[in-house]
């Protein structure tokens, strides 16, 4: 088990939003957290990434207790993360966005950043950044464009480049297709499928789009009012009577819940 979460409780003052959540993620697995708005998905996600500290419970990553570790320490141990609204380094150009992440990895993993008076990134760093950009479909002529001028879909892709530049073992994706056009969603799903196939990376994601969940997820967990409603293979969860009533039902066809 790469991620072993046990008995997570979380309160905002008197309001308890997570009531003892436990889950386990296997290596190379894609694990999805779903649930209606206000179910505690985002809070649980933030507890797992290190942005919020749980009031009780433990999080173990590859056997190590990381419950109290801040976000950057988790990133150094192999966590990568993307945001619901893609966050990249706006004023920097595309290549520098990725270079910053590669250099950060080299800094904490004891790699070489070149001699101190060389201000430019080393050839190895540049080559690695360019390889990642190319792999995600950014043509050479765009490498020096400022990231703030990218379209929504391109920003999402660049964020992936930045996140993968630290060579994470587990990717935390907060609604990877939120706010995207259907064609961009399609492209993102293909990208994730390709990433899984090529690297065998572990993915933990929240997502609203049921089609994408059922296409990508190996297992999923349904949250409702801060409690685990169901957990298991997508098909089993879909057929679960309680889940149908609480979440998938509600008069909607599963494929059309984008809220």
């Amino acid at each position: 088990m790469i991620l072993d979460v046990h008995g997570i409780e979380m309160s905002y003052g008197a309001l308890k939003v997570l009531h003892g959540i436990s889950l386990g993620v296997e290596p190379s697995e894609t694990f999805a957290i779903i649930g209606p708005n206000g179910a505690g998905k985002t809070t649980l996600f933030k507890v797992l990434t290190g942005e919020a500290m749980p009031t009780a419970g433990t999080i173990r990553y590859k056997g190590q207790d990381i419950t109290r570790l801040p976000a950057h320490q988790r990133a150094r141990r192999g966590f990568g993360r993307t945001f619901q609204v893609a966050r990249v380094f706006n004023e920097l150009d595309l290549r520098t966005n990725v270079v910053v992440a590669v250099e950060s990895r080299l800094r904490y993993s004891g790699g070489s950043l070149g001699r101190w008076w060389r201000w430019r990134p080393t050839a190895a760093v540049r080559a690695e950044a360019e390889e990642i950009l190319e792999r995600f479909g950014f043509a050479r002529r765009r490498w020096q464009d400022e990231a703030s001028y990218l379209s929504h879909g391109d920003r999402k892709r660049l964020e992936f480049c930045v996140a993968l530049a630290t060579r994470p073992e587990i990717l935390m994706l907060d609604e990877p297709t939120a706010g995207m056009s259907p064609s961009d969603r399609r492209e993102m799903t293909q990208l994730l499928l390709r990433l899984k196939a090529e690297t065998g990376i572990t993915i933990l994601m929240t997502e609203h789009d049921m089609d994408i969940i059922f296409e990508l997820a190996d297992r999923l967990m349904v949250l409702n009012f801060g409690e685990v409603l169901a957990m298991g293979a997508p098909q089993a969860v879909r057929d679960d009577a309680t889940v149908r009533r609480v979440y998938l039902g509600q008069g909607h066809h599963p494929g059309h819940r984008h809220a």
Partner: protein
């Protein structure tokens, strides 16, 4: 655009290099003073434009350098002045590190700015109580040092030597800061400024980057202060006061925040205004205020921002990349 910027930079360097042969001693004095303010403003801009921290009390570190240098020169300890500058740099760094460790624990935005202001004003008050530092009058008539370098001797009592010594140290400081912010450390600092949370998720220790930036910035501010003592020969609490802390902010706004060279343009502009209005008491403040308002209203990106926008419009199209 880049070519024009390079030429402008070379012309500026040439102007400073040949200043003693081109203009009268009064202007040379102002040029030396501007060089010191440039180093100070750039050290502040290291925080503002790169690490994303606004300090309103940066003059405290300038003061650390200025007072250590002034006391050592006044008391005639015979310490080599290059060593004095290094001592000032270390003292400035240590002072900044202590402030950063205390203040950056909790705050980084407005609270940080206010706390730095409060701390620096506290130092002004403490100087007023200190006989060693000359109370409110400060330390005047500071003797200029003579430096022995084995093969040659630098006597700062000779005006030409004095000017070129200040110029050399300032160029060295500017060069080191340029290397720092253009290198991987500068890129990490920018990442933190643009989006601290995103930066944390690529493994950057945001707090540590800010503390390191603040420490380095304090060291360079102190170096600028150390040069003031022999150049101006007087150090008063005015150099530690909030108005001195605000100078880099004015310079950065005027010249262009977000540009490494912005504060340089700003300091030159401010020095120009001060020089042209030297015979009218009070006029310089009015003009500085008016030009700041004008720049903020007409060119919020400062002089360099306006120039870049103009160049892009001339170059046509492509807002994202280089023209």
């Amino acid at each position: 655009m880049n070519r024009i910027a390079q030429i402008a930079l070379l012309l500026l360097l040439a102007a400073f290099l040949f200043a003693p042969f081109l203009v009268n001693p009064g202007l040379v004095f102002i040029a030396g003073f501007a060089l010191i303010q440039i180093v100070f403003a750039l050290s502040w801009n290291l925080l503002f434009s790169y690490a994303g921290l606004i300090s309103f009390g940066h003059a405290a570190f300038f003061g650390v350098g200025a007072y250590i240098s002034a006391v050592v020169l006044r008391d005639g300890h015979g310490i080599h002045f290059v060593l004095v500058i290094l001592i000032c740099a270390v003292a400035g760094a240590v002072a900044a590190l202590l402030v950063a460790l205390v203040v950056l624990r909790r705050a980084s935005g407005v609270q940080f700015a206010v706390l730095t202001l409060a701390l620096s004003q506290l130092i002004v008050v403490l100087i007023g109580y200190s006989s060693l530092l000359g109370h409110d009058e400060g330390i005047a008539a500071i003797p200029r040092p003579v430096m022995e370098f084995g093969l040659f001797t630098l006597d700062l009592n000779r005006p030409l030597t004095n000017y070129y010594f200040v110029l050399a140290i300032c160029l060295l400081a500017v060069g080191l800061m340029w290397l720092l912010v253009k290198g991987h450390m500068g890129r990490a600092m920018q990442a933190v400024r643009i989006d601290a949370e995103r930066a944390a998720f690529i493994g950057i220790d945001v707090w540590r980057v800010r503390v390191v930036a603040f420490t380095i910035s304090g060291a360079f501010a102190a170096v600028a202060g150390a040069l003031l003592a022999p150049w101006g020969q007087i150090v008063t609490p005015d150099y530690v006061n909030w108005l001195q802390s605000a100078q880099p902010l004015f310079a950065a706004l005027l010249g262009g925040a977000g540009f490494f060279w912005g504060p340089v343009v700003g300091v030159l502009g401010l020095s120009g205004i001060n020089y042209l209005t030297r015979t009218f008491a009070g006029l310089s403040e009015v003009l500085v205020g008016a030009s700041l308002i004008l720049v903020v209203l007409l060119a919020p990106q400062g002089v360099l921002g306006a120039v870049r926008q103009f160049a892009r419009r001339r170059g046509g199209g492509n807002p994202g990349g280089r023209p």
